[in-house]
């Protein structure tokens, strides 16, 4: 063994190298305060290892990037740990770098003769930030796509060469395959190679001048190995433990596949760039132009940092104090701006809804991609475009939410706001039914037992108030009145019998029958109850006063199939209840709400013609409303009923 080592040393001289590397003198003894540089080297090594592994499974193109990251994260063995480590270690690196920088400035380690090393450090910092920017886009998800759009647009604000710089970064005038291949080449090739080169120089120069000793009399001198290395290793272990824990407990997020045609309202940069983002939000800053806020100010800050060694040289002790004051000022400003950004976002209902939607879309895309059909060749972006569970709420928000609501919101989790007389935004009152339970048992129960209340929303509508006023003035007007229709009379006239114990089971059965006629997916119906309900609906076999009143007496088609080619032939003036609430009924109703077979001309709902709502979109909307889509375990948009009720009770 010894002979072998001797031979190796003879051929390579490695003993001397090891000695050089490990037996560096540490005056004043090993200290915890010296560990930061080592943790950075360690984190970078971790990034190389996990990065190479991710590389072995990543495929940069607009139709494979999200898809391969999804695959790494959700299918490959411990893929989520590798990606999570890479994701969190990148953030750890930025934090450690900031600590390192602040310490170097405070300890005066940037001063002569270490100026060169300070500048090498600044270059390294820029490279790390570049790695972080380029890495953010690679998953090609909505979050990375829109955040990086902001970055490349900022580049274009560079004076003179802006447009060319942007084009070079993007690989063309717009985002596409080449944006990804270039970002990837930068992220995995060019920038890491530069980092290795500059890091080597940084460490070399560091060794040349030795440690900037904080307090030489702190303890007896020692050597790097093993005293300082032990402390360094413990610190690195702590870093590793933190990122590993985060990777496992909070797996790195993957939002929905990037889609330039889908607006994304939750765009934010990585948290450590939030301060810059918040800075750009000051209208006073924007008034001076984007170039000022996004390029000149950061440029000046970097400039002041860079000349710190010169400042200290020229101004002596005062220069050093100035530098220290500046670094504390920056740290405080960054902390305050970051805090502001977090605080404002947390209190911004719109942003929270957008975040919830981004999360929902991302989860859903992953859910669909994990399905038996896998991801089609045209990419995961098409999965969501064809998914009723994703598109339904959007279509509802766009086409229905002007009057209707869905569990108190627009379908997409946002509240409908309007200005009150004092020009203060308030929650707008819906002027048509809240369809959150449409076609379900709750809905049917409302209709059967409490009709006027169930449709009370309509009374908020201007047309209703106008018509009411006219009819009070003695004019004869035809309008849908939740308080004054035959159906309302039936439920209010029979309220005691409906609520009586002897009819409790009957009401339940009728509701079961009606809900089964609507037949929304995902409900288990009770066949016996349905049969009992059908009898009630068609034959009216109730207990007590209700006995003999059946639905069929007015709604002649109840219990029938909904016709494939619905016509108004034989319309009796009562809305058809044939498969009321089913997909077929709903499609016909949305297209022809004013048909005689429904509510006739007195219905104020506007028809959604194919010019407004294409057949494909109608299908997506109706399938969502009737639950006819691949099941989802993704949490839905939160109900906003409490907020609405609170606003109404005010």
């Amino acid at each position: 063994m010894n002979a072998l080592i001797n031979w190796l040393d003879n051929r390579t001289g490695f003993r001397e190298l090891m000695h050089e590397a490990l037996y560096e003198r540490v005056p004043g003894g090993a200290r915890w305060r010296y560990v930061w540089g080592s943790t950075l080297v360690f984190t970078f090594t971790l990034q190389m290892i996990t990065g190479f592994m991710l590389w072995s499974a990543y495929s940069p193109s607009t139709r494979t990037a999200w898809e391969s990251v999804y695959y790494i994260q959700n299918e490959m063995f411990i893929g989520y740990i590798i990606r999570g480590l890479h994701h969190y270690a990148a953030q750890a690196m930025v934090v450690l770098m900031a600590i390192h920088l602040v310490q170097v400035v405070i300890d005066g380690a940037y001063k002569a003769p270490r100026e060169m090393n300070f500048w090498l450090g600044i270059v390294l910092m820029m490279i790390v930030l570049g790695l972080s920017l380029t890495g953010y886009l690679l998953p090609w998800d909505q979050k990375g796509y829109y955040a990086t759009q902001v970055t490349t647009n900022i580049m274009s604000a560079t004076p003179v060469v802006g447009a060319e710089v942007q084009k070079l970064a993007q690989g063309g005038s717009d985002y596409g395959h080449l944006t990804l291949t270039r970002f990837f080449a930068m992220h995995a090739g060019i920038l890491p190679a530069m980092l290795v080169a500059f890091l080597t120089l940084h460490i070399y120069v560091f060794r040349r001048h030795g440690l900037k000793v904080h307090d030489a009399k702190h303890a007896p001198d020692t050597t790097f190995w093993p005293d300082q290395v032990l402390k360094d290793a413990v610190a690195c272990l702590a870093v590793l433990a933190v990122v590993l824990m985060l990777a496992i407990l909070r797996p790195a997020e993957l939002s929905a596949p990037a889609d330039p045609a889908v607006k994304f309202d939750a765009a934010r940069p990585e948290w450590y760039f939030l301060f810059l983002f918040r800075f750009l939000r000051f209208h006073a800053v924007e008034a001076l132009g984007l170039t000022f806020g996004a390029i000149i100010v950061p440029g000046i800050i970097m400039g002041i940092l860079t000349i710190m060694p010169i400042t200290a040289q020229v101004l002596g002790e005062w220069g050093h104090r100035l530098n220290k004051a500046f670094i504390w000022l920056m740290a405080t400003a960054i902390a305050v701006l970051t805090g502001m950004a977090f605080y404002e976002d947390a209190n911004d209902r719109g942003h929270q809804a957008a975040l919830a939607e981004a999360h929902r879309d991302g989860q859903r895309a992953i859910e669909l991609a994990s399905g038996p059909d896998k991801i089609p060749v045209d990419g995961a972006v098409s999965l969501l475009r064809r998914d009723p569970y994703t598109q339904g709420p959007r279509l509802f928000a766009q086409h229905c939410a002007a009057c209707h609501r869905f569990n108190g919101h627009t379908g997409r989790g946002t509240l409908v706001m309007e200005m009150n007389a004092e020009k203060v935004p308030v929650i707008g009152a819906p002027t048509a039914a809240d369809l959150g339970t449409f076609g379900k048992r709750e809905w049917m129960t409302g209709i059967v037992t409490d009709y006027s209340n169930h449709f009370a929303w309509l009374k908020n509508a201007k047309w209703h108030q106008d018509a009411k006023a006219k009819s009070a003035a003695g004019e004869s007007v035809e309008f849908i009145d939740p308080d004054g229709s035959e159906m309302a009379d039936w439920t209010s006239g029979n309220v005691e019998s409906l609520k009586s114990a002897e009819n409790a089971d009957n009401v339940k059965a009728l509701v079961e029958f009606l809900a089964a006629e609507a037949g929304h997916a995902g409900t288990d119906f009770d066949a016996a109850l349905i049969e009992q309900g059908r009898k009630l609906a068609t034959e009216g076999i109730w207990a007590g006063a209700l006995n003999g009143t059946s639905c069929k007496q007015c709604h002649e088609t109840i219990g029938d199939a909904f016709p494939a080619q619905p016509t108004d032939e034989g319309a009796s003036g009562y809305p058809t209840m044939a498969k009321y609430g089913s997909a077929a009924w709903l499609k016909d109703f949305i297209r022809n709400p004013g048909a005689a077979r429904h509510y006739g001309a007195k219905n104020q709902m506007t028809a959604s013609t194919p010019e407004k709502l294409t057949d494909t979109d109608l299908d997506l909307l109706v399938r969502w409303m009737t639950g006819n889509h691949t099941a989802s375990t993704v949490p839905d948009y939160p109900s906003q009923m409490e907020a609405v009720n609170a606003a109404i009770s005010k």
Binding site: W7, N10, R15, A261, E611
Partner: protein
């Protein structure tokens, strides 16, 4: 070298055993060597650099998307795309409606046929003209929303706000919202009173006061 040769192996540093070499070579040799070394490094580096500049150097541009290829049946030579909506289907009260524009997208080696290319806002002014805006924020490229309560357009990224006619109402955006050319037609022929809405969908550079199509 601090370690002394401990075995009979020849020392790796042969120079140690020789007298220092006299500078025998002429200036010319120095020069030629320097130039050669420079050239062998510079040529590949320049070639590599030029390749990297492809996005601004390449002369032959990718074929224009759509155009006369006929892939988008509802697109004409001037780049106008027919929307699914008709004039009558847009709210008369001026409320903006979001529309997804379908187009062919050329992305490097791919042509994606008839896919969602972007989203726009459409507004009808009474019985008058139809306004169309690209929904991409002219500030830094986020998406502009319609706020019903405030009756304005608003970008949640850095709070750019615009009036419903697209004019900017605060200092954040560098310019107004990007209006798009609209042409009303009947059976594809210009007709100011027609029902068909044709829009020339374009994207514009962000962060500039001027509106520059990309």
């Amino acid at each position: 070298m601090t370690s002394s040769p401990s075995s009979s192996d020849a020392s790796p540093t042969a120079a140690d055993g020789h007298a220092p070499l006299a500078p025998r070579r002429s200036v010319l040799v120095h020069l030629v060597t320097a130039v050669l070394s420079f050239v062998i490094v510079t040529i590949p580096a320049t070639l590599g650099g030029l390749f990297f500049l492809d996005p601004i150097l390449r002369k032959r541009k990718d074929a224009e998307a759509g155009g006369k290829s006929g892939e988008v049946s509802r697109k004409d030579e001037k780049g106008f795309i027919r929307l699914n909506l008709t004039r009558d289907s847009i709210p008369a009260d001026g409320t903006p409606v979001p529309v997804t524009v379908l187009d062919d997208i050329v992305d490097a080696w791919n042509r994606f046929k008839n896919v969602p290319a972007g989203s726009i806002w459409l507004r009808k002014l009474g019985d008058g003209p139809i306004l169309a805006f690209n929904s991409t924020c002219p500030h830094l490229g986020c998406s502009v929303d319609f706020r019903p309560a405030e009756q304005d357009f608003f970008c949640p990224c850095h709070t750019s706000a615009f009036a419903l006619d697209g004019k900017k109402t605060n200092d954040v955006p560098p310019r107004d919202m990007d209006g798009l050319e609209v042409s009303m037609r009947t059976n594809g022929a210009d007709d100011p009173g027609g029902q068909e809405i044709w829009v020339r969908y374009q994207k514009f550079r962000g962060a500039t006061a001027e509106k520059i199509a990309v």
